[in-house]
């Protein structure tokens, strides 16, 4: 299974997200530390999930990191995490998230 699919599958199972984007940004890090031919080293996730409610930022990131430990073990090097609940404003602008 590709690392992208592994990330997506594990996040969906653990957090039942309302929306989830898994973006491979490896190409933007070509030649940098941790990068390797073939990509799948640097990912960004954007997830909106009710199941994150009531948790601090650190707790949310820890939950995501712990859930994705198999992906780190499989070669994931860097993970940018953008997570929020449907009630929280999207920091990238716009109103509340539309649910997918």
């Amino acid at each position: 299974m590709s690392i992208r699919n592994l990330i997506e599958q594990r996040l969906r199972e653990a957090f039942a997200p309302q929306s989830l984007e898994v973006i491979d940004e490896s190409e933007r890090h070509r030649g940098h530390g941790g990068w390797r031919e073939g990509g799948e080293t640097h990912f960004r996730i954007r997830m909106v999930a009710n199941t994150l409610a009531g948790q601090s930022r650190v707790a949310r990131h820890r939950a995501v990191n712990d859930c994705l430990k198999p992906a780190f073990d499989a070669g994931l090097h860097a993970l940018a995490i953008e997570v929020r609940t449907p009630d929280e404003r999207d920091p990238r602008g716009g109103g509340p998230a539309s649910l997918s």
Binding site: G33, R57, V58, H61, R62, N65, A78, A80, I81, P91
Partner: protein, 110 residues
């Protein structure tokens, strides 16, 4: 001294510590570089520790915080977060308040 004791000593004896790849003047990773820019902008004194200089440290810091990625910011001995968390806190002014609450002067508050 074990690496865990060494890390503990660093975060306990410095108010603001950033474990990063490269140095504040020459970051070697975009994520570390972002946190350096934010700390410099806020104007808080901090100690940057380059994990690339020592493999034992590079692994040890991940175990210390149970956090798999670098950079890692510590304030008054407490883990604050990595690049995304620091940036979000900065954008919401929470980072600046956090330093103020911990009694750490910043250029912006002076």
């Amino acid at each position: 001294m074990s690496i865990q004791q060494w890390i503990k000593n660093e975060v306990d004896s410095n108010d603001v510590v950033l474990f990063m790849k490269g140095t504040p003047t020459f970051p070697q990773c975009g994520f570390s570089g972002q946190v350096v820019q934010i700390l410099d902008y806020v104007g808080v004194p901090y100690k940057g520790i380059n994990v690339l200089e020592d493999d034992e440290l590079r692994q040890g810091i991940k175990e210390f915080s149970q956090w798999p990625t670098i950079p890692q910011l510590y304030v008054k001995g407490e883990f604050v977060g990595g690049c995304d968390i620091v940036r979000e806190m900065f954008q919401n002014q929470e980072l600046q308040s956090h330093f103020a609450e911990k009694g750490i002067p910043t250029r912006q508050s002076a």
